[in-house]
Symmetry: C2
Subunit: 343 residues, 2 copies
Amino acid sequence: MPTNSLFNSALTTFAISATDELGFLDELHDAAKVDVQAFQDQRDLHGPSLQALLEVLAHAGVVEPVGTNPVILTAGPEFDEVWLNKGYFRWLVRGYGQMLSHAADFCDPAFRATTNPMAHRDGGNIAIAGKDYGGHFVDPVVEQLVDGLRFDVGIDLGCGSANRIIRLANRLPDKHFIGVDMDAGAVRVAREAVAAAGLTDRITVLHDDVRNPSDHPEYATAEVAFSFFLGHDFWPRDNCLHTLTRLRHRLPKVTDFLFSDTYRSPALDGGQPPVFTLGFELTHALMGQHVPTANEWLDLLEDSVWKLCDRRPLGIAYSDIFHLVPRQPIPTPVTGDVMSSGR
Amino acid sequence: MPTNSLFNSALTTFAISATDELGFLDELHDAAKVDVQAFQDQRDLHGPSLQALLEVLAHAGVVEPVGTNPVILTAGPEFDEVWLNKGYFRWLVRGYGQMLSHAADFCDPAFRATTNPMAHRDGGNIAIAGKDYGGHFVDPVVEQLVDGLRFDVGIDLGCGSANRIIRLANRLPDKHFIGVDMDAGAVRVAREAVAAAGLTDRITVLHDDVRNPSDHPEYATAEVAFSFFLGHDFWPRDNCLHTLTRLRHRLPKVTDFLFSDTYRSPALDGGQPPVFTLGFELTHALMGQHVPTANEWLDLLEDSVWKLCDRRPLGIAYSDIFHLVPRQPIPTPVTGDVMSSGR
């Protein structure tokens, strides 16, 4: 790709993320046409900045002028695909932009020794971004799968903002859900969202480390478990096996575990990788996190207390839902620490 | 452009900047082949991070594997153009990455009221980047022009690191140069660079505001003046005219003024803009700075004490050297403040 295309594409990426954040992309999606001056006035925005961002989008074919006085923009040929994928751009720019800008620093062991790489990501924006692309590329598959399962109580391990269980609770009005997250901020946000949705009678949010769950009595009630995009955090392999065993013991009634993650893409084949893939792999390399391949997952599951009974691709590249069921009977804990919490 | 190309191009941009910063691009340029493990060991780098960055470059055709055990990389089809333009990527990612990531904030007047937009750029990295692309796209034209001029003393208004006058002093061993910069840090760096080059007898660096120069006696000795990429900082128009008048009075012996700047690109014509242009215009919009068009410059020069006698394009798009000569005689100051300093 010519250098100017690379350079301009990077700018387009920044401009997509910023105009998404400003609500412009949703406005254009909903209204089909936007009067730029009116949009700017309604939201009290700095005109030259907004206009320069839209100029970048116009050069990239994301928006198209249909009037000049006043300036009216409509969707350009690239708009639909950009709008559908805007969460990935927000993820890249606002979630990981700081880390990626300083990628050279992350190559320096002295820098790594004095910083927590995770502190250079923006968890709030990553959650907002994930809600967007998850809504397009994950939720429809999950809902289809969940509709085929019989259960009264579902548990979401690593529930984040509780967005997904709120959707499910609204869809399935006779069921209860438990959300678990290790991040206190996420738990607060999740509880507020559950209250705002009027679902406190059917959704409980717990603050706990999924990798080493404590013995909340609620856990024993769950019949279906979910986990989305958390699995690679369980690695290295042995730690992951232990976590899966601990979960098996803490969730004795669970008959179906929808365990979803993004795995490492196959080696270079010369084609252009899909959106997200290279970004996911680069940021996790910078954070020092191993991203397992699909085969590493399948191999691990062979040795786990959970048995793979189905595998469903998500709309996110190299991302599947592994439909797991418990192997019978519950095996004896391999090590003494399995049932103790707080390690 | 498909969404995945946009997304991957943004990652490539980050990876070009980071591998430039790590010295990898220069190493590959000089050595034609690089053993990745050896490079990593020599510089004590975090392997997974380096490898993930190079993986991104491989997908973009910037590097190409020619051996796998050990991994040997050579230049891919895009390498030469990327290497030549790497300064622009460093400028974008390290110079303005933080500002561009938070572009939505810059649209918010409340944010603008409480921050200095300039504080969100990284001046040090912008200087490093400018030295790189300036060496490719500016210096050859400047040297050709300077070779045609007769003078003993040249002055660089806004000399930054003094890189350009050090080059000129080395090229023209019988001439003296004065550098002027308003940034105390730049002056310190420039003086150190002049000393390191052994040129303290032929280069003087002054700390002064070019927009309102004081009456350093050295100014009266200069016969040729240069100014690179500073002119748009002189605007609005009336301020710029005043500055040009002040300079005319402070530099009475100057017969040639090589005044170089990047001007605003013409309106959208559907083509892909060249490298740098959109980035320059977007960042200056975010900083609230007007970037004049070529016609605005030509119109202003008509009213100025300097007369345009030649216009030479640089290798940077929409960037020219305006070759100015003084109109005779020196006009009477328009306002009383022209000769007073310190305003």
